[in-house]
Symmetry: C2
Subunit: 226 residues, 2 copies
Amino acid sequence: MFILEGIKSLLEFVHSKYEIQSIYYLPQYQSLLPKLGPNIELFEINNAELSKISTLQAPPGVLALLKIPKPSINNHNILRDTFSIALDGVQDPGNLGTIIRTADWFGFKNVICSENTVEVFNPKTVQATMGSLARVNVFYVNLAEFLKEATIPVYAAMLSGQSLFEVKWEKEGILVLGNEGNGISDQVADSVANAITIPRIGGAESLNVSISGAIICAEISRNLNK
Amino acid sequence: MFILEGIKSLLEFVHSKYEIQSIYYLPQYQSLLPKLGPNIELFEINNAELSKISTLQAPPGVLALLKIPKPSINNHNILRDTFSIALDGVQDPGNLGTIIRTADWFGFKNVICSENTVEVFNPKTVQATMGSLARVNVFYVNLAEFLKEATIPVYAAMLSGQSLFEVKWEKEGILVLGNEGNGISDQVADSVANAITIPRIGGAESLNVSISGAIICAEISRNLNK
């Protein structure tokens, strides 16, 4: 199971591939709950009880338990005719959540994580997705092996490479983003055909991984939808 | 005073406009300290002492106290011939720090905060800037009044407006980013001549403010430097 908090996020998971198991709610949310579907265990609780089970400093009044799915990629065809994001050892839960939210904004449906990427059902990650987790598929794979078998172009955000503003994008591909401190591992780098860099004008040594990923996703989206 | 942790970040503040008052360090960092300049109080401490004063779960071994400057914008001329970022009530320390880091990457030297924006010398903000705070000027002003007097174009990231990919950028301007939940306030919106939106393809309701800011900054930087 994983924890999801807030009625707004929870509504995103209704009619999704996720199964809501139970909901713990403050009395004032009762009228909203029938919308959420049948076969959900409901528990009315008070503020004191909620603050004991919540993972947040200011609990939003509704806490749900959802079943953790175990999706796997059976073949590479689901990655055709679109862009997907691959993460090589991203460690910060907030970064992973923000990347999923950004992918969802641009309509990218798949995020493929290396096995040493932070757990997606971590409450901080779930919270940072702001409900986008309901729409984006997140897979965990041996990323180096997975990319070796890729049949579409593999791009990666790196500190040196072709300028983002000069890339000739294909209409399908995988964008790899690396670990916060160490970037992309050597094994994964072997499968990267296109290293891309965001031109730096000022003094910062690097960009946050969710920031560089978003800047490149915007550029890919512009190209796919023009 | 404000707290800065980590030798890498601290080195960015040497030869900056900031004054380092004192440094608390583990013995293994002693050889690096003479580089940091004269007139700094030095205190060798042990791990137990460091963990008491550190704001981080894994203290990086060097903690410094720096004097908080009180910069003010005396006239609008420092904003000419470049782009600046204005923040209208950004609340999350990590978002503010990430925005400063991103501004520094693109060479934008000024971040102008409304008075209700989170404190920049908050340890979480300082940490998230990854040293970029040493190079970016951060001002606190009455933002609505400030923008009324602006002599350069004012742009803002909004959920509706002109597509980012169709904007004809000027060579100078101010980009306004709003509060995480409520966006840009009515008083500030009155001074925004150009509302800009990042085209949405998928299902997410919004983007994180540091993400939308970065995507727009990249586009401005491309235009300024082409």
